[in-house]
Symmetry: C2
Subunit: 484 residues, 2 copies
């Protein structure tokens, strides 16, 4: 897929994720050092490229051959990971330039974030980089995790900071300005069962920035949804990001958490970012215009991203809720309504068709309540009739599994109707261990599953919002009366 053809950046950025040979500059024999932790990631069997250490102090580190400079390595080097004190970095970049390597991740801090002396060092490496076409991620970052190539520059031990996995169903990539958040999210998503393709920590963004990553991830087939954590854009950089986003979002969903909404946070953010951080309202409007969906926080972003990665966008905003618990129906309907989605009652025809096939004590409004003693067959009937009717654009399924009558086969029923109709489905299943397992099975079949009605409603909203972005005027905004 080439969403943005003729982008020179794409090949330049690709090497950060698919380097076949990597040199760790500053690799160290000292346990718990950053230079050792990064090298350790690359000697795990999952990474199949070649690895070299660079440090004049050693001839080998952890069994990896170590050289005094890049020049001494008898091989091409695709990517250099730099973990040396900032004051040495310019010399390291001369070495990179001479070697002809075109990509460097600078993990080290001590650059512009520490004041004018550090800023000077940063300017020097940027200058050398520009002269020799070296793209730079960082400095002052944790770098990159790619769950397919197993490039991993996160210097945090796995027992503290778990690494996410790729999913066969759908994957999300995340670009984070904050290294601490990148690490916390790597750790979090390792437990969350969310498919991740790439996590990129941008740090000071001295060269590679949000816009570069957006262009790259737009054409990355292993990324279904692009997520950003941003504190602000450098002067002039916001414009290019929004221009690119406008082209990308009709093809691939882009989500962002941007901190600094409030006055206090804005002050904090302004002190270390550019002008756009100044007005949250301007940023908000820019996102909206560019088709970027803004989340208030990471939880919301992941809840929305999961739905967008797994399900097709909605062609309109008419939601049908089907549930086996009345309370869950009421709570979820409340949340759907608060988010501005349509919850139209079934037409007279549809109601009659449903009444013919369901027990009399089921409620055939919206929500449709198939009641606590249901098995999977009533869900099957409801989906069959409702999808045939063409009265709905999104289906939210309440699946309370505490009763033994509802078997695990309901997951098949849901997944089959979703696939055949190509209408987006979202499931809400509140509960404990059995429910969690059922949710995992549901998601292996491609239907996103949430622990609360509010999360499911937010997922439905994201599918409708993205449908609006993708289909524009064709999106059916049917806020027709919800009376039968």
């Amino acid at each position: 897929m080439r969403l943005l053809p003729d982008e020179p950046t794409i090949e330049e950025i690709d090497v950060f994720f698919n380097a076949k040979s990597v040199a760790i500059y500053g690799a160290s024999a000292t346990p718990n050092s950053v230079g050792q932790a990064i090298l350790q990631n690359f000697i795990k069997p999952q990474y199949t490229g070649k690895v070299y250490a660079v440090n004049p102090k050693y001839t080998q580190v952890l069994g990896v051959p170590c050289f005094p400079s890049l020049q001494d390595i008898p091989d091409d080097i695709d990517l250099v990971v730099v973990a040396v004190p900032a004051r040495i970095a310019p010399r390291v970049f001369e070495d990179i330039a001479q070697k002809g390597t075109k990509a460097a991740i600078v993990i080290s801090g001590g650059f512009s974030e520490t004041g004018s002396r550090g800023a000077e060092l940063e300017d020097q490496i940027v200058r050398i980089g520009r002269e020799h076409d070296i793209r730079i991620i960082g400095p002052n970052c944790v770098g990159v995790i790619d769950t397919h190539s197993h490039i991993d520059t996160f210097f945090l031990p796995e027992y503290r900071c778990g690494r996410p996995r790729a999913s066969n169903v759908a994957n999300i990539s995340l670009v984070s300005q904050s290294g601490a958040f990148a690490a916390a999210i790597s750790d979090w998503t390792s437990e969350l069962g969310l498919g991740i393709s790439k996590i990129i920590s941008l740090g000071n963004k001295c060269d590679v920035d949000d816009d570069d990553l957006l262009r790259y991830l737009a054409q990355d087939d292993s990324t279904q949804v692009i997520c950003f954590y941003t504190e602000g854009y450098d002067p002039g950089k916001g414009r290019s990001f929004f221009d690119t986003a406008k082209r990308v979002t009709p093809h691939k969903p882009v989500l962002v958490v941007k901190s600094g909404r409030g006055q206090r946070a804005k002050e904090a953010a302004s002190s270390h970012t550019g002008s756009l951080a100044g007005s949250d309202r301007v940023v908000d409007a820019a996102y909206r215009q560019a088709g970027v969906i803004r989340a208030d926080n990471f939880e919301q972003m992941f809840d929305m991203a999961k739905a967008l990665a797994m399900q097709p966008p909605a062609k309109g905003n008419r939601v049908l809720m089907v549930t086996n618990g009345g309370g869950l129906g009421v709570m979820t309907t409340d949340a759907l309504e608060a988010l501005g989605l349509g919850i139209p009652h079934p037409s007279q025809d549809l109601q009659e068709n449903l009444r013919k096939r369901l027990p009399a004590y089921c409620a055939v409004g919206n929500p449709i309540d198939v009641v606590g003693d249901t098995d999977a067959s009533r869900y099957d009937i409801v989906f069959d009739e409702a999808l045939k009717s063409d009265e709905y654009d999104i289906v939210v399924v309440g699946m309370l599994l505490q009763t033994p009558t509802l078997g695990m086969d309901v997951t098949n029923v849901i997944a089959n109707h979703q696939r055949q109709s190509a209408i987006p489905f979202v499931v809400v299943a509140m509960g404990g261990a059995f429910t969690t397992k059922a949710g995992e099975i549901m998601e292996l079949m491609g239907v996103p599953t949430y622990a609360t009605g509010e999360k499911a409603a937010l997922a439905a909203k994201a599918l409708a919002r993205y449908g609006e972005i993708k289909y524009g005027a064709e999106f059916r905004k049917s806020m027709r009366s919800d009376k039968p």
Copy 2:
């Protein structure tokens, strides 16, 4: 503790949770039947009272002696659990009256929720109950779980519907109008690690209602926070609930999720509840006046309840945030500000005291950033100085554990300062397995821990809100300028 002395209801209600002898009316030898599932709960070794089955068809069920009627049981019966068809219920109640038992949980459906014939049957059992001072929970409910006495009438198998546990730290009790939610929450909290004392499903509320349970739980020492899920109050019943709440809330926090905020949900709720469901704004005002804290959903309710159960209420709304990740500080501060909490900068004195003892690259604003390479000692310094200063009423601690430098001993540092200062603390720790374990340890020490800054901010808000309710005019509402 006797919050509401001279309440005749207290002893009457207590028997539902502390019955020493129970009869299961409608106990059955049929596998997967409701009458068998309930009996099974009572023959688990955890329940130490006496159990009898009542069913003319058998002389024993699952090894439990079975009698044709209550009269035939050669023992007093404290509590009868009724699981018979609705049409038989009046006869069963005659039997209960003759036996002199004063408490009955009617699990069966088929009463007022099904129409006028069922309503007549319900009227009959209520009439018999009134004449003979029998208190009734239900009908059409799943009844009661008590994690201390192990009374458990939930007829859902444990492999589907996990049961919650009591905690040694602090416990919540939940009263739910919906049986499906009661079950889903039992199951959910079994995995959530939230201490639960009691879950009560009220069903049709033909006798025992929200007000009775509020009076009872107010004086129950094993309940630190009282939670309600309510769809509406029967005519006249809302008033007494709010009157009682006004007396309870200065002594014990009361939280409520009331569905039917939106138009659509209101319609659904009105159809099966009373007049108060009509105007959400009236209900909202009544809750506020009574000091009841309203949550939008269960997730929010549990997040707030956990903090209120574990921590003292705040004496004012000045929050200090301490973090080892700048981004987490910004995000959490955003959320605190959005909730209307004060985030004052440290005074000049406090800033100087902190600067003397912390590395120069730490930020001593609010948030105070002890930076990614911190160990527990910097947190210790910050708490020491900040709590001495008397400038803050709540402390929110960001604890990102992905770095190996921050040891598990930080949990001790946090807990010790919390205990010594008696100022409420809330922790936010984003991450995976290691972080989850650290959060569990933190909570064993009594400090509630959350996965996101937004949840931690909501917990802080609940502690401030409850401080306002408890301390009234003494609550310091210091919205002073947050400039240093």
